[in-house]
Symmetry: D2
Subunit: 366 residues, 4 copies
């Protein structure tokens, strides 16, 4: 992405609203075009689609069943519906996407299971609270029954559970007889932040099903349900079909996933996004007037999201300069900046420079 970006006025990418606001990786677009040629069996019976399951099995060092979907919400909904009965409780962080940002999609897919919040600092579920929730009212016919632990990795705040933190949670869950789901909308960002293997971060800890995100990290419209439990395959397949997610020309989705996984593109893209976040954090850390928040601030692994506290006018000034990001959505004075595979050092430095200029102008003005 160091190439020309003629659509950007001065070749500076100023979009920090979300990692879904930038386009797709050129490699992925090229793969889609290549997939467009010729004849292929529909509904995933084509070689490209079969190859993706193989690639993911190799990447995860475990046989997997793969179901491409158009959105992360679909992946989450299908996965959860296969893991919980309708009278089950899905334990998740109160900030989780499934709890907040899917307009009740999990409840629709699961026929009315209940999302039960389990709080914790920095967007991470607290193990002690989980321990209590995992057995709450077990066997009580008047209550939903704890059934699934859903972990978001990386979290909504950009923090990343360490392997030890994950292990603590999944151990509690398994001990209590719960299934484990991982919402991996930013799976690669977490992986790269930890320097772990896909296996270490999932099935080796007891994760049953991953919502494997690719869209935010360079794909167009392709995420996938990735399951480690062959006993779930039939149920997942029919839920996938009934949800209207089994595409006829599936090769156009699996071409994206194949290119995403080939030659380490997914890891390169994620590493780039994470590095840009770190560069931004490091720059803000030495910018008087800006306070970096979250795990970033305490030296823990983080992904491609930066939470800061800005003086009120700063957000306005930066937006006036064309930068786009959320301010005040979570808390007054708190801003969120999301970097992506498409950001360059030059882009980050432009934002840091603009920040300092804006702060200086205001200071002078006063």
């Amino acid at each position: 992405m160091s190439t020309d970006r003629p659509d950007l006025a001065d070749n500076i990418l100023r979009a920090y609203l979300s990692d879904n606001a930038v386009g797709a990786s050129p490699e992925i677009l090229a793969a889609v075009v290549a997939a467009g040629a010729g004849v292929a069996a529909p509904y995933g019976e084509d070689p490209l689609s079969a190859g993706v399951a193989d690639r993911l099995s190799i990447a995860f060092e475990h046989p997997v069943d793969v179901f491409p979907v158009a959105t992360g919400s679909a992946a989450n909904g299908i996965a959860l519906a296969a893991l919980t009965p309708p009278w089950g409780a899905v334990l998740c962080h109160p900030d989780a996407h499934i709890a907040n940002d899917e307009a009740g999609a999990p409840e629709f897919f699961t026929n009315g299971a209940k999302l039960v919040p389990v709080d914790g600092a920095n967007g991470k579920i607290d193990p002690d609270l989980l321990r209590e929730a995992a057995t709450r009212r077990r066997g009580d016919i008047h209550s939903v029954q704890p059934a699934v632990l859903s972990i978001t990795q990386a979290t909504e705040t950009g923090s990343v559970y360490s392997i030890d933190e994950l292990s603590a949670l999944t151990t509690i869950a398994r001990d209590a007889g719960l299934r484990v789901h991982m919402d991996g909308a930013r799976f690669a960002n977490a992986l790269v932040a930890l320097g772990a293997t896909p296996a270490e971060m999932t099935w080796m800890l007891g994760v049953d099903v991953v919502s494997f995100g690719a869209t935010k990290n360079g794909a167009m419209t392709a995420d996938a349900v990735v399951s480690f439990d062959p006993a779930l395959a039939t149920e997942l397949a029919f839920r996938h079909k009934r949800a209207g997610q089994l595409t006829s020309k599936m090769r156009f989705q699996t071409a994206q996933l194949a290119a995403y996984l080939a030659d380490g593109l997914w890891l390169r893209n994620a590493a780039r996004a994470n590095e840009m976040a770190r560069r931004l954090r490091d720059g803000f850390a030495v910018t008087p007037g800006v306070e970096v928040l979250g795990d970033d601030a305490i030296g823990e692994a983080t992904a491609n999201i930066v939470f800061c506290r800005f003086p009120e006018e700063l957000s306005t000034d930066l937006r006036d300069r064309g930068f786009d990001f959320y301010a005040g959505r979570w808390e007054r004075g708190v801003v969120r900046l999301v970097t992506s595979f498409a950001h360059t050092e030059r882009d980050i430095d432009a934002l840091l420079t603009a920040t300092r200029e804006a702060l200086r102008s205001r200071a002078v003005a006063v």
Copy 2:
């Protein structure tokens, strides 16, 4: 598509299994690549997505709400859920895709509405049977209540309802207080076959919502719910979201639809597919031993599907020659051949020649 097709051994396309087995139109692939550049607001807030609603409003000569989806099943499920209460009956032909080929997706989306078959010749609902079904057990608390007429245009057999036939059905439905849904997986093929306008084939007859197919006719993975009733917009939007169909990088779907609609590509593609079917039919009609079935046989408008009766060995022989199509799936000796925008006269003639050769060899052998 008269261009080189290097992936085809002798440059002959032998795929007649379904129109979803061929790739995408080059124009659509190019549009997707173009959409990949630069920044865009997610979840359909981008100009490309807004433009598609405008284009479709112009094409239909009526303001429409548009919800892009990954599959026709999703379009049908979302549309039907907005048109029927859970205790409603959806009246459709027994051969309808919603009744047979979606593994119960409509029941999932509608929270358990009932698909009630209304039979008729040539894949078309019989008006007299519809009249009876449209008021059956109306007001009887022990029975599901007729709520929606779902018409497939073009039908599963490739037949095409005339405007008069559609009008007869929609009049019966409206008189009985039913909403009208059109499953338009092959909408353009029907339109071109009739020489009608989109308006004439839909809202002018009382159609409320169309499942607007593009995938089978040249797009990659983009169909859409198109609604003429603004009162349904909010419900459709939330059902679309909860179904996991609201994509973050929606521009990659709407780029497909925009290119599909631009410069009449959709009509050109459909016309090509229909013409190729006609060429095939005309060729078979003068091939002793082959019997053409359906509306084709009686000179009615038809789309891009040809049903024939083949001598048993003929199917085997043609498959041996690399041709792919369904044989014996519906009835012993009956074959289905589906043409597409990607087929050329040369392709069709190759199939006809192969047919005659195969018949001749067998005759000689005997």
Copy 3:
């Protein structure tokens, strides 16, 4: 019920519309009153409720799980939801109550499973048609999957499957991997008609769950889900609770069931109803102008429903004389008369006499 019935003008019961139009057995009312005294643990934790499971286990010669419900529709819905996944097909006769008379309750309870009709003469599923349906499109991701056989015993027409007929169906179902449900709204009537034991008519044939009807045969508002498969117990319990069927003062339901099962009341009531139907049939058989229909006519076992063909005026004349029954609902000229535990020989003879008088008057008039 041979006692005084002061509410009936001339002590003649003229109600043949349904067996749910008469009141409850005095023994059952007395048991409910007795249950009203004193304190009891709620939600089925009381001794009366525990006792019903024991009684049914003894009656069925098999350990059972029992879930009292307010209606047969609830029993059917809960049972089916535990036996089929949402993408399953429930195979049943087209006349089945679940298919026709529950306004889509099974679809609601199962989250959208599909009821697939399997036809057959006299209200009974045809084994050959079942054999075909039981494996239809097995493994095809585009289709619902055969999951449950639901048998109505006695059937909607009053016919009763013989043990051999049941065995033929359940063998086909088990061989195809289907679960078996029995809608026993008139279970006791069938049992008595066959002279079989509850075990012989259910689990010994492979039935998994019975909707055990008591209401039509003398109870007030108490039917029950009776399951022979302990693996279903937890799921049934939570579905029962979530459906709003777990009553706090359950003893008022289980008191009905206990009295129903005690001292053979259920069998006596059913025998009485069946005998009255036979008396009616025998009387009609020798009444010129009336044609008895169904299994009755061929000497097979039947329950407490009589289908006849009446001259048109006869229905009118009998209704004028205060008799209540369905006429012309299924077919022009066809009437249905349902007898119950509350009918006496005197009641039946009064109807036969009235029939002959009516026919004679008309004959004279002509």
Copy 4:
């Protein structure tokens, strides 16, 4: 209930676990027996059932639609499903029965709507928190939409909203476009505590639908959905049927409701239960070592539930003496005692005496 209670060893009722642990009022049992005689049209078409709607319309001074149900959970589920779309949020107190004690029944009935807790002291929703929640993320496609306010009157803690408190909440709800549901499992207890009319406590404040409880206050197994909005009647009727709540012999439920409403039985029973709670509270208030909690303690209106803080051993000692109640379920040291229509002054005094004796013994022992 001052009559002999031969089932109670020394004629002392020691059951304070819940008001559903005692039997039914003699008047109601007698009505059920009377209903058992004679013939009646099924499914609520009988005069007794029609009469209940009339009686309730008179009691509420407003035309109402009435749907008898077997449980309060069914009433709540059916009512909420008619008031919220699946993507709606139902705002309720975190202690509400619908949120805690129905194993997800509301989610099942509503096809996955979300219960959103709105906290407040003494089991009552806080108006300021409601104001915020009632418009939270309105119009945001990624979030469930506030749709219904569900008020529990009397609350789970036995507190009773004053008319002014109710009015404050319903005004906020109506202003925000929300529908209003009242869970009236203890409706009569609240009514009597306030000295209000049914109209004043419901539709005059903007309540749309009430879950009208009778079971806890003397009926056997009969509650009802009572709707003030005729536009909801059809939907409620079909949801009631599909939930398996439309009983064939409905007269046995409506006989209970008719007797409950006749001659003020419902108000007498509730007044008795409330008075007994007050007597208990007054007695505890002057018992050193016992601390009365909740609205009781500040002189506000309360229903038939008493929350106290007991010395740990006291609970044990009273249970040893045969008294039954919840201790430590909500909080260590906190007990709940529920009185009912069946309790007498003598019963209450026996509990107070036992309490003092137990405390004295322990004091002496120390």
